[in-house]
Amino acid sequence: MPIIKVKGLSYRYPGSSRTVLKNITLNIDEGEYVVITGPSGCGKTTLCRCFNGLIPHFYGGNLEGEIIVNGFPVKETSTSTLAQYVGMVFQEPESQLFLLSVEREVAFGLENLGLPREEIVKRVDEALKLVGISHLRDRAPHELSGGEQQKVALAACIAMQPKILVLDEPTANLDPISAVNILNLLQSLRNKLGVTIILVEHRLEAVASVADRFIVMNDGMIVSDGDPRDVLSSTNIEGLGVGVPKVIQLYKDLKRRNVIFNLVPLTPKEVKACLMEVLEFD
């Protein structure tokens, strides 16, 4: 039973005639690590907002079709309920931290749920430790770096023990090393907690090798969906403005020269392994 079921989903923002999501159908299983990518304006952010009910409840607009998250039909379930199962990390670090200390920020969701204080303290401690920011507990958000702020946002979501984590371009405003740190952290959280991850990203090099599944969107529709190796090397995502990792471009170029790797490489290490196989074969 998939944890997210989407069938024939279409959406228009209020007052807009443009259909931003066009008949989307997709299922996501529990524990999957899915990367959604596509050119700006393709609808990936809009789709994410559907997973925790911000669409349609916060944004209004015209949502057609069916979307069921963790057994709850989104159209009939409030965001405050869905938020207990779906954690969301947004692109801008500053705007999702609105309290005066990291500790209060991480506790906010739990306080909203009315949990007893001992439980809140325990979960906050755990979340801070899992994310590796216990030392930042008493700091104010505006004093932190972008990478640290995103970690706080992550901890604030983790504390609510969601089953699904949705992250909308969380590394866009970060430098490369901070970005890699966050993505590694995500990977370790996934291993430790078994949480389903839906990540919207442009920088595909870092996530190509850790994701289970890639979904490419364009103009409100899903254009490609499947194993990262298949999706990234397929021809139907060419020319869409998707930043296909260089190793994949290399694979394709070599293929055209009759050098066929037995595997579509997703990392430099895999390129070496592929090359060695070809050499052996020769």
Partner: protein
Amino acid sequence: MIEISDLWFDYDGFPVLRGVSLKIELGEVVAIMGENGAGKTTLIRHFNGLLKPKRGYVKVFGVDTREATVAELSRRVGLVFQNPDHQLFAETVFDEVAFALKNFGFPEDVIERRVEWVLKMLDLYDLKDRSPFSLSGGERKRVAIASILSYDPDIIVFDEPTVGQDYGQKERLAQLIKLLKSQSKIIVVVTHDVEFVAENFPRVVLLSKGRVIADGSTRRVLTDEKLIRRANLLLPQVTQVAKHLVEFGVPGDLMWVSEIKGAILKVLGRGCT
């Protein structure tokens, strides 16, 4: 051209730039890179006088920035800020793009011509009567760029232009930079997008903790693991591949897919064309 000599700058006693020296000539396209807090943003604010040196000097086309106003310097140095929403305020795209021209005292007919020209160049002509706030993120970014290009500065500085941009948008930006270079302008881009720089920039200045730790050809700088690590950056992916294949005789300083393809073909004895 830009001449910076032993530039020191601090915020509230905290040193941000420690003796930066740099020269950029007409027609050059330079990327300034470095970790967060290295001083990149502070450095470019000296180009148009927003910040004045505490020690050392900055000369733009021979003019010492301490002896000119921001408005005077901005006439020749266009600074495109990272977030277009920090500057959009006008009722129409046309007015937005005309703003700088009006401030610099251009006559009405010249303004009209220039605005139309730059709007067409950036594919914004159909939006000229729209409110800038009703545009998409990518369109707003282009309007911000247009508003600087409209008055045709000799030096154009982009602060983190690739953040949040998809691959297609980055391609268009690269084309624009190429076009501006062909007009003999100086282009300076502050970025941490290593792939973008590897593909489009011949020269990189690497800053770390307020100092220039490298200044030279992109190939020499971006493929040097030690330098890259000091600046909190990553090697371009092709370079990472090359370094993995060093034992096969592949040079460790490759940056482009075409190069690594050729090198691999060589290793396989399939020769090159």
